[in-house]
């Protein structure tokens, strides 16, 4: 029964992702992407990683995708964008990369099926509670966490630099505009 739910969520994830690629309307594609992320969260949950599942929903589906929808809403794409997109979905353009990716997928499937790469059982042997994630992050992976926070800090400083209200010194040299209220 567990296996059934696992494959159900997996199928939903794959179908939703296929729909993401083939939708012509950007917002519809994003909605399918959200469904796909939710399905992946279900998979995480079933594999015994509830913390990863919750973060998948909160961070990816709940925050990043909201911002993507936000931006696409502001672009206000009409029928023109849909037509452009449909021109891009010409088989001539995607057949080559598609075949190459297919070969890689086949290889991966063979490796998994023939048990070439380590453990091939689908389910994790034990559940990973939140506390263990925290202990792992602040134990052996402490340096990785610190590095990630450095990268984020750099991003934050960069965003602040780009969005800061222009001071007089900057307006003279660069744009000549008055204050733009950040």
């Amino acid at each position: 029964m567990e296996l059934f739910y696992f494959y159900l969520a997996g199928t939903v994830a794959i179908l939703a992702t296929a729909m993401v690629i083939t939708r012509l309307n950007a917002v519809h594609a994003l909605l399918y992407l959200i469904v796909s992320l939710l399905a992946v969260a279900c998979l995480f949950f079933q594999l015994g990683a509830p913390f990863a599942a919750a973060l998948e929903v909160i961070v990816y589906a709940g925050a990043i995708m909201v911002l993507m929808v936000f931006v696409i809403m502001m672009l206000n794409q009409g029928d023109a964008a849909v037509q452009q997109e449909s021109a891009w979905l010409n088989p001539k353009l995607w057949a080559g990369p598609g075949i190459l990716c297919g070969i890689l997928l086949l290889q991966l499937a063979l490796v998994v099926l023939l048990g070439g790469g380590g453990s091939s059982e689908g389910f994790a042997p034990k559940a990973v509670p939140t506390k263990e994630v925290g202990i792992a992050l602040f134990g052996p992976y402490l340096i990785a966490v610190e590095l990630a926070s450095m990268v984020l800090l750099a991003g934050l400083v960069g965003a602040f630099h780009l969005a800061r209200p222009a001071t007089r010194k900057h307006t003279d040299s660069a744009t000549g505009k008055e204050r733009n209220n950040g």
Binding site: V27, A53, A54, V57, I58, V66, L67, F70, M73, M74
Partner: protein, 320 residues
């Protein structure tokens, strides 16, 4: 519904059905209760004609909503337009699943209960954004944009303000958080966390005074300008559901949940939640709506530092 300690199938179904039904009924009654309370505070009767105390006003409104023309504009993105109002209802009702109402009453005892609530509340945002986008209307779009920015910002402080409670209780499990408060409610040591969560909760459910996404004096009705009939009703009930859910969650996290002397646990939970819901309504009656940039400024320049300092101080005290 008392004493459902061993989870049999029937008890579980009763639990789920009872909680869902109670949540929706309370949300519907709140449409009447809110207007009566507002009337009381503003020195006017409010809806008092239909039935005893005007209670049947709810039924009258419901009938009206069901029989109104359910209009879908031709220029709308129709599938998304229809999908949008359902999301808030579903997400909010899912949120009720992790709420520990009393010992034995509550749908699921999830060990990431608090994160599940945060996930559901971040899903509910889509309702407003997609409603605004799909309406294909200037006012709706502006409302949707505001809602997106507002909820994404306030979600940050909401999450951070809860971490103090999580650190003190040492768990994300809402039931265990309640049990951890037997020695004293978390509203005392986590007072700033409580304040930030309360304000963020109002912003998340975009209630007055933070209802900028639908501010009628500037955006007609914001994201639900094009909605009518029961589709509008779902946005409306979803908003009241989120008020009840946030109140229930504040009760659980800061006011000791079902804990309390003399009365049965269920009564304590309902009393505390009811008081908070009334407080939400009082805020609507008492505080004027800020400007949109003031709202965002307040969030990032006041709420974020307060919640971060609260987090740091809690951690420092716990470690020392």
């Amino acid at each position: 519904m008392e004493a459902v300690t061993e989870p049999s199938v029937l008890a579980t179904l009763l639990n789920i059905g009872g909680i869902l039904l109670a949540a929706v009924i309370f949300a519907a009654l709140l449409t009447w209760g809110e207007r009566r309370l507002l009337g009381f505070w503003q020195d006017r009767p409010g809806p008092n004609r239909v039935g005893p105390f005007g209670l049947l006003q709810v039924v009258a409104d419901m009938i009206k909503l069901f029989f109104k023309e359910d209009f879908v504009p031709k220029f709308a993105d129709i599938p998304v337009f229809i999908l949008a109002p359902t999301i808030v209802m579903i997400a909010m009702l899912m949120g009720f699943a992790v709420l520990p109402i009393a010992p034995g009453i509550g749908v699921i005892d999830l060990n990431i209960g608090l994160l599940f609530f945060l996930a559901m509340s971040s899903m509910a945002v889509y309702s407003v954004i997609l409603g605004g986008y799909a309406s294909n209307n200037k006012y709706a779009l502006l409302g949707g944009l505001r809602a997106a920015a507002q909820t994404v910002s306030y979600e940050v402080f909401m999450g951070i303000s809860l971490m103090g409670v999580v650190m003190m209780a040492g768990t994300f499990n809402l039931r265990e958080i309640v049990l951890a408060q037997e020695g004293g409610w978390y509203i005392v040591p986590q007072f700033f966390g409580f304040l930030v969560f309360l304000v963020a909760g109002i912003a998340e459910s975009h209630r007055l005074p933070f209802d900028l996404p639908e501010a009628e004096h500037e955006l007609t009705a914001g994201f639900h300008t094009e909605y009518s009939g029961m589709k509008f009703g779902m946005f409306f009930v979803g908003e009241y559901l989120s008020v009840i859910l946030i109140s229930g969650l504040i009760t659980t996290l800061f006011l000791g949940g079902w804990l309390g002397p003399w009365l049965p646990p269920l009564a304590w939970f309902l009393i505390k939640t009811f008081v908070l819901v009334v407080f939400f309504v009082l805020l609507r009656a008492a505080i004027p709506r800020p400007r949109y940039d003031q709202l965002m400024d307040f969030g990032w320049k006041v709420m974020l530092p307060v919640s971060l300092i609260n987090l740091l101080a809690t951690a420092a005290i716990l470690i020392s």
